[in-house]
């Protein structure tokens, strides 16, 4: 929730040494991301303990005993909850980014194809309008109308992501529309839609992947924030943000209950950001050119 997309410019010219080090960050990020992905997938079929099983007498067991991460105020196994929480976070972010990509790219490409036309102006102004709403305000409004829940958190984040991708796609597509191969396709009689899909889209894919990774990590932070204020995942579905919210009054009694979900968020986001940076170095043509 605290990052700002689209504004992290490329890291400029880099030598071979830099390229190696950046791919190291990609590898590190990739491994962390894989671990969380694996935990999320495994949690579909197995967790060390049942996440919804309460056992009040076992509450506040410290970590590294019978329970690897200890237990919470209801005696639930925190390790299992972190695993399922990873699933919640990943699912919310993936779908929210997906919505953003689909809607945003379609709008962006349409705007670029009709550049400086009425449609372009309409799309871009609506974009600015949506972008002017803070994500939390969107989430609060959606939740107030439809009630809280994972789905509504996804919609709020998807709505927030859409203008980001629309701007990105439009900007990148605009420069392609004046390129020779697009002009050639136009001369050959291809329509705007076909050109957008066949020629423009494949050429902006790299950019979308990089931005997608960044927004994915933002999504994890945002989901945690929304769940923390009660606008996201509802009990008994574990979510890192809600675990933190519930643990908040317990920090003085059992710090691990508040520390572990927070660390999970930090590590997951860090992993994704490292991977995103690495990906950009590998995929972003500008950086690649500079690296050559």
């Amino acid at each position: 929730m605290s990052d700002l997309p689209l504004v992290r410019a490329g890291d400029g010219d880099r030598g071979v040494w830099r390229a190696a080090s950046s791919s190291r960050s990609f590898v590190a990020g990739f491994v962390v991301t894989l671990v969380f992905l694996a935990a999320a997938l495994v949690s579909l079929v197995w967790t060390p303990y049942e996440v919804t099983a309460l056992s009040i007498p076992d509450k506040f067991k410290p970590p590294f005993g019978e329970h690897l991460f200890g237990t919470d105020q209801f005696g639930r196994d925190i390790f299992s909850m972190v695993m399922v929480g990873a699933r919640t976070s990943i699912a919310v972010s993936v779908v929210a980014v997906g919505i953003g990509v689909l809607a945003g790219v379609a709008l962006g490409l349409a705007a670029a194809a009709n550049r400086r036309g009425l449609l372009d102006e309409l799309i871009m102004r609506s974009n600015d309008l949506v972008f002017a709403f803070p994500v939390l305000v969107i989430a609060i409004l959606i939740t107030a109308v439809f009630g809280p829940g994972v789905i509504n958190a996804i919609v709020a984040l998807g709505v927030y992501n859409t203008p980001v991708f629309a701007r990105l796609a439009r900007g990148a597509a605009l420069s392609l529309w004046s390129r020779e191969f697009v002009l050639a396709a136009q001369v050959a009689g291809k329509g705007k839609f076909l050109i957008s899909v066949e020629h423009i889209l494949p050429n902006i894919l790299n950019l979308l992947v990089v931005q997608g990774t960044i927004l994915f990590s933002l999504g994890i932070l945002a989901e945690a924030g929304l769940s923390y204020v009660g606008l996201g995942a509802q009990p008994p579905l574990p979510s890192w943000g809600r675990m933190l919210a519930e643990a908040q009054t317990l920090t003085a009694i059992a710090p691990h209950v508040a520390l572990i979900p927070g660390l999970a968020i930090v590590i997951a986001v860090l992993g994704l950001n490292l991977m995103g940076d690495g990906l950009r170095d590998i995929l972003d043509p500008r950086v690649r050119r500079a690296g050559r």
Binding site: D128, L136, V137, V229, L244, G262
Partner: protein, 315 residues
Amino acid sequence: MLRYTVTRLISLSLSLIAASIIIFFVIEIVPGDPAAFMLGLNAQPDTVAALQRELGLDVGPVERYFRWIFGILQGDFGVSYTYRTPVSELIADRLWVSLPLAIYALTLSTLIAIPTGVIAAALRGRPTDTAIMGVTQLGIAVPNFWLAMLLVLLFSITLRWFSAGGFPGWEEGLWEGLRALTLPAIALALPQASILARVMRSALLDTLSEDFVRTARAKGLSRAQALRRHALRNAMIPVLTIMGLQFSFLLAGAVIVENVFFLPGVARLVFQGITQRDLIVVESVVLILVFAVIVVAFLVDLAYAWVDPRLRHQQ
């Protein structure tokens, strides 16, 4: 320039009108009746109806929209349903907390980020740079509300250096006010500073590779001199853009941190307003926040057009 400004002004006013309509009607369909909420479990239906009349809720939404919007044009935001005081006073009170907090956080973040970014750029590739980049990666990944919780645990509960939250009011003195805003400002500033430092570093590196800096280097300036005399000023453009975006984020997105520190700020007013169904307050605050963002974006566009003549001729 004039023609460009006029077309942009028309599109601006259309955006503002659209925003006000969207805000009003989205918030109006929020289920839950302010009068029923205020009167609670034992209220009789006739009592609820009486309160609805008193609050002016007995007329249709379209009429209420026009009442609201014409009121605002005359500087009157209406009266809060639950607080029974003018909405403009409520918002003004809250802004006295939110604005200083945002400025405080932005100042902190700038003071940390600019030198850090410059050092990282100057020492590019050295261990210091790597360490700074690592720490800023971490800073971006930390949720600000978790940071806030940890700060309270450390500085309020354990060390008791700061109170755990609340805001005594500026009449208690500047120092007391700033003290109350310090932990929230840190919680907000650190993640922002991490982003800003990274932007600063990469913007500097970008300008360092530009021709005019290379020329300066070729004329015999040292790397540090080139950085100081030429690159720094030019790198400030993206940094300032980010700072503008961050400021509106700090104003509107601080709701979670305001909640942790129970600060009576604007963002929490939205949150409270929606739970108490004080819809007129929510509508007005959201309108102001959204207007502010749209108008700032408009001014930035104008400024760019002023600087870069190509833009205005394209229109």
